[in-house]
Amino acid sequence: MAPLKVLVGVKRVIDFAVKVRVAPGGHVVQEQGVKHSLNPFCEIALEEAVRMRERGEAAEVIAATVGSRQSQDALRTALALGADRAVLVELPGAGPEQGAGPGAGPGQGAGPPLVAAALAKLVEREKPQLVLLGKQAIDDDCNQTGQILAAILDWSQGTFLSRLELDPGSSSVRIQREVDGGLEQLRLQLPTVLTADLRLNQPRYATLPNIMKAKKKPLEVQPLEQLLGGPVPPPRLRVLRLEEPPVRQGAQRVESVPALLERLAALGRI
C-alpha cells in the first residue's frame, strides 16, 4: 500500500470580512492594500490532505497556486498549515492588482480554464494520485476549476465533498458528496480530482512553531509560459462593467391583496 502523492490547489483571495469596492474605471475590484487570505475552501482541501499524510495515507502534500508574486503569502500559509512544499505558477506581466493579467477571469485572477491548464501541467510533472481543490473561490464563485481539470486529465472527479476515505490498497477512494437531493456516496478509482465543501473538516490553526518551520520548506516559482511550454492563451472573457449592487430600498407595506396588485402594476412589474 504505497502512500499517495497529493497535489492541493489553493487560491489567494480578498478576505471574506473585507467590504469589497469597485475600483475607479468600473472593471475591477480594489485590491491594493486590501487584506487577502487563503480561500476558505482551499484551506479545507489542504487540511484534508495534511490529515491524510498524518495518517500515513499520503507521503507528500504539495500546495500549488496560479497567480501573481503576492500569492506567495498564500503558499507560505499553506506550508505553515502542513504542506511539504509549494509551487507558485506565476502570471506574466503586472499582477491582477494593477488591473492587467491574461486570461482575466471574473475574479481578476487567471480564471478556471487557465488555472486548470496549469495544474494539468503540474500533474504531468509531479504525477500525484490525488488532486484536492476547494469547491470554489469566494471571489468569483466559479466552481469550475476542479471539473475542467478532471476533464483535461480524463480522470474521475468527486465534487462538493463532505467526507473522504481512502480504501485499503490505496487504489480507490470512498467519498460523500453534498448534493441538492441529499448526500451521495461514491467510490472513485484513483487517480482522481476532488473538490472540498464546507463540512469536510475544520481546518487547524497555523501554530507558531509551524510558521517558523515553513520558512525552510521549498517554495518554487515557475513562470506560467515556461510551464505551459508556449505562449499564454489570450483571455476568453472581457469584463464590460463591474458595479456594486444597488442600495437596498426599504420595504413598503400595503393593506390588502388588491392594493398589492395595484402597486405592482404601477411599478410595471405585472
Binding site: F16, A17, D73, Y205
Partner: protein, 382 residues
Amino acid sequence: MAAAVLGRAVAGAGLRVRLLRRGCAGLAVDDTVNGLSTEQRQLRQTMTKFCQEHLAPKAQQIDQENEFKDMREFWKKLGELGVLGITAPVEYGGSALGYLDHVLVMEEISRASGAVGLSYGAHSNLCINQLVRNGNEAQKEKYLPKLISGEHIGALAMSEPNAGSDVVSMKLKADKKGDYFVLNGSKFWITNGPDADVLIVYAKTDVNAVPASRGITAFIVERGMAGFSTAPKLNKLGMRGSNTCELIFEDCKIPAANVLGALSKGVYVLMSGLDLERLVLSGGPLGLMQAVLDHAIPYLHVREAFGQKIGHFQDCAGVILYSAECATQVALDGIQCLGGNGYINDFPMGRFLRDAKLYEIGAGTSEVRRLIIGRAFNATFK
C-alpha cells in the same frame, strides 16, 4: 429547482457563519504599514482567528463572573500554538523569537479579553522570561517545559501592601537555615496568584543592606510548598478574570537550589526584568485600543490605522506610558461614540475602559514611568 437554489443559499450562509465564528470579528490591522515580516503577519492572523473564536465570545462572561472557568484548557491551547514561551529557547519547548513577536500575541489576546491578556503577559513574560534570563540549567529544565506547554501557570511577586512603586522597601524576609531559606511576610496585587503553580518571589535576605536594594534575592516558589498560601482573589474594577490575590508566607521553606540568580543580587533580576515587562505589556493597551476600534467603528463608519514601535529600554517605559494613557482616552472616546449604549454593560465599551485603566497603574504607575524616562534623558546629557 427551488430546493436547489435554497440549498446553495444555505451552503453559502453556512460558510459565512463558520467564517464569522472563526474569522476576524473586527477590523483588519494593516501589517504592511506596520512593517511586519511574513511570519509575524501569519502569527497575527493565527492569533486573531484563534482569539476571536475561542476567547472573544467568553470575554463578557469572564468579566461579569470575575473568573475564567476554562483557563487551564485555554492555557494548554496557547501552549499548542507555541505562544507561551515565545522568547524561550527551543530546547525547553520555546519558540526562540523576539519581543516584537511577543507584543503581537499580547496585543491580539488583549484585543479579545484584556483580563486574559494580562494573565498571559504575567505568565509568559514576568514568569517564563525571567526564568529564561536568570535561571540555571537545572531550574530551567525543571520549570520551563510545563510552563511553556501550558500545563503549569506562572506568576511573579514583588509588590507588597507598602511597597509598590517603592518596591525595594519590601519587607518579605528570607532567613537562611542550612539548605533552606525560610520566608515570612506577604505579597499583594499578584496577578495569577490564586492559580499559579510556579511563582518568582522577591524577598529580603539582608534587611540591613545599604542601600536597601542590595538585600533582595529572587526565589522560585512552588504551589504546595509548606508555609505558602494564598488569600481569596480580589474583587477589582477591571481586569476581572485575571485573578489577583495576596500571597502569604508563614515559615515557608524554600530549598537553596531555588534561588534565582545570585544571592542578594535579586534587584538586578528585578529591574532588568521590569524593562522587558513594560515592553511586552504595552501590547495590552494596544490590543484594548484595537478592540475599541473594532466595536466603535462599525458603529460609526469611520476608518483609522495603528502602528507600533519597539526601541531601547528607556523607550519601553515611554511606549507603555504612551499606549496606556492613550488606551484610557481611546476607551473613554469609545464610550462617548456609543452614547447612551456606551454606558450600558451589555455593550463591551465599559469593560474596555475598566481594563485599560489598569495599565496606568499596574506594571508601573505613570508617575514612575515618567521618572524613568526623565532619568534616562538626564543620563544622556552626563
